[in-house]
């Protein structure tokens, strides 16, 4: 049986396995034996309740960011702006919670905080979409640059208007009022309620994938003229899909703020941008695929932490290497299929 006649998910899984074999070889080069490498990764990622919760906690924002950029990818728009959009979302939510309406009860504070995050992220994503439509500016370059502007804006506000009045060594805001903090799920470790939004997002994306709108976005990516005649001009497709990706990233930024950090902090949030895009590519735009890819990516991070603890010699940053190798091997697998047809 020819390797190329295997169904696509199987073949991609095969390439990813080959990539992971390279990672295992690297881990063994740092002084661990094969069994330790595999069991160490497993114990860190899923071995106990704490590890499993950590994996889910890492995976949730990746799922949401990945689901958000998937429509843009279908429309042929590559945005690397998820990091900046997450910051904008968290910034909007924190400003609303701390400055606009600090006294709200949770039944109002949580949805309004989430909405502020969505609005902030979407607004941040609107600029590159408009610049592309009006001026023809590359979305990749625009979003790369605005990521830096978001980081600087956050740093400035944390030093001035939003600075923690109690004073702190690291730049941070005051803690969010109680009505804006996400409750934690009754599980070992810390896992906030909003990870359930990732599941809801997968269901929403599964439903949307079969609608006329999703089909038109697909068409807009391949045959812009045809899509325009069917009622979706290319520029509108760019704006709508970029708004969706910004809204999702803003929501993820709010989740980190209200569920994990509890206050606005500098750093950390923006590193997820590239990973979210990678997850969308790995999942091939399919919601279930994105869920699986996000779990894989998150398990590589938490698994590498476990590996470091077990071996003592293997650095945890091998997890980032593994994420890159997995992305490269999966992209190779998908490209082979494309170039054959």
């Amino acid at each position: 049986m020819n390797v190329r006649s295997l169904p696509a998910p199987l073949r991609i899984a095969g390439w990813i396995a080959a990539g992971l074999a390279v990672v295992v070889a690297l881990v063994m080069a740092t002084g661990a034996d094969f069994t330790t490498a595999v069991t160490g990764w497993f114990s860190g990622a899923f071995g106990n309740a704490y590890g499993a919760t950590q994996t889910l906690l890492y995976a949730a924002p990746l799922v949401i960011v990945g689901l958000g950029v998937a429509p843009a990818l279908r429309a042929g728009v590559i945005s690397v702006g998820a990091g900046g959009q997450m910051i904008a979302g968290a910034l909007a939510a924190a400003t609303f919670a701390l400055e606009v309406a600090p006294g709200l009860p949770a039944w109002l504070g949580l949805p309004l905080g989430a909405l502020a995050g969505i609005a902030g992220g979407a607004l941040w994503a609107l600029a590159p979409a408009l610049a592309f439509n009006r001026l023809g500016v590359s979305v990749i370059l625009f979003t790369l640059l605005t990521n830096y502007l978001a980081v600087d804006l956050l740093a400035w506000l944390l030093r001035t208007a939003l600075r923690d009045p109690a004073g702190a060594a690291t730049p941070q805001s005051a803690p969010l009022p109680a009505g804006y903090l996400l409750p934690q799920l009754p599980v070992p470790g810390r896992l906030h309620d909003a990870v359930l939004l990732a599941v809801a997002g997968v269901l929403l994306a599964l439903w949307w994938g079969n609608t006329r709108g999703a089909f038109l976005v697909d068409v807009a990516g391949r045959r812009p003229d045809l899509a325009a005649r069917c009622g979706l001009p290319a520029d509108r497709a760019v704006v709508l899909t970029m708004l969706a990706s910004g809204a999702a990233a803003g929501l993820a930024g709010w989740m980190q703020l209200a569920g994990v950090d509890g206050r606005l902090q500098a750093g950390g949030i923006d590193s997820i941008g590239f990973a979210g895009l990678a997850v969308a590519v790995l999942g091939r735009g399919n919601p279930i695929g994105i869920l699986a890819a996000a779990l894989l990516y998150a398990s590589l991070t938490t698994g590498a932490n476990g590996l470091e603890m077990v071996t003592g010699t293997t650095p945890a940053s091998i997890g980032t290497v593994a994420q890159g190798i997995v992305l490269l091997s999966a992209a190779l697998a998908m490209a082979q299929r494309r170039s054959r047809t």
């Binding site: 690397v80 590359s138 650095p315 940053s317 490209a335």
Partner: protein, 305 residues
């Protein structure tokens, strides 16, 4: 330190070491974009170059470190070129993958070389230079007094790149590959081979630029030490419109603002630190918009283009 001239001399002296890594990486990206390719993963390659640079310098001196940085960068450039050229992977995806690998692998390398608890070995850094006539030039003399051989090497690299892409046969062919691949192929130029070679050169330049970061400074690798210089290089190539002298100027302007931002942490320069940091990005964004709008207007006047 109260007069105007010493102040600017201090700012420029601070900017010189900041711009050198960016110049190397951006010149590599110029060559890559000449061939019609684009790499968002420069930052990861620079970090690898920085880690390898420290390792090489510990082993065989500072020039050995620079070579090690260039070699590992070129190796990753080769991977990029093969994945995109032969594997048909989207270049943005390949760039992101290599960025992740570079960020992670440089930290792995660092932790293997200097395990936690052991004291950090400081690698030999670049020798200081004293140009005899420089002291007599008023502002520039003071500003360039701290510039080492790496800075002059990067300027030389810019001149060489300018000459090579303008006057050499291979340089002209490379630009034809990026400009009109079909025509180049029809003329017997192997598009694939030129793009692969450009990817190797660009990776090597990014690796050298990365190695310069620790070797012109503290002689120690720290994770993430290039601090976004790889993305700055991408922005500089945009402003420079792929002109190597534009790269020199653009990288210097970026570094000037960074130097001002560093200074504004200790004294009041009238604007918040973060604004000084954000200004070059905002300016690049504005230039990018203007350039794109112009290109669009020109295209609108060309019939059936």
């Amino acid at each position: 330190m109260t007069g105007a001239a010493p102040f600017w001399a201090v700012v420029i002296a601070g900017a010189v070491p900041l711009c050198t890594p960016v110049i190397f990486a951006a010149l590599g990206e110029v060559v890559l974009e000449d061939a019609g390719r684009f790499n968002v993963g420069i930052e990861g390659m620079m970090l690898l170059g920085a880690a390898a640079g420290v390792a090489g310098s510990l082993g065989g001196g500072v020039w050995c470190g620079l070579a090690a940085g260039g070699a590992i960068g070129a190796a990753f450039g080769l991977i990029f070129g093969l994945a995109v050229g032969i594997g048909a992977v989207d270049e943005v995806i390949a760039g992101i993958a290599l960025d992740l690998i570079g960020v992670g692998a440089s930290t792995v390398l660092y932790q293997i070389l200097a395990p936690a608890g052991h004291s950090n070995h400081t690698a030999p850094v670049e020798p200081s230079m004293n140009l005899p006539l420089l002291d007599h030039v008023p502002l520039i003399g003071l500003a360039l007094s701290g510039a080492g051989p790496f800075f002059y090497l990067s300027v030389g690299f810019a001149v060489a790149t300018w000459w090579w892409r303008r006057f050499s046969r291979a340089g002209l062919r490379l630009r034809s590959v990026g400009f009109m691949p079909i025509v180049a192929e029809a003329r017997g130029i192997s598009v694939r081979r030129y793009q692969l070679a450009a990817a190797v050169v660009a990776g090597g330049a990014a690796g050298v630029g990365g190695a310069v970061v620790p070797l012109a400074g503290i002689g120690v690798f720290t994770p993430g030490m290039t601090g976004g210089a790889g993305f700055v290089a991408l922005a500089v190539v945009i402003i420079a419109r792929r002109n190597p002298f534009g790269v020199l100027g653009g990288a210097f302007v970026f570094a000037l603002f960074n130097s001002l931002a560093l200074l504004s942490q200790t004294r009041d320069l009238g604007l918040p630190v973060e604004l000084w940091q954000a200004l070059p990005y905002a300016a690049t964004l504005a230039l990018l918009c203007i350039a794109s709008a112009q290109r669009r207007r020109v295209r609108a006047h060309v019939p059936s283009a």
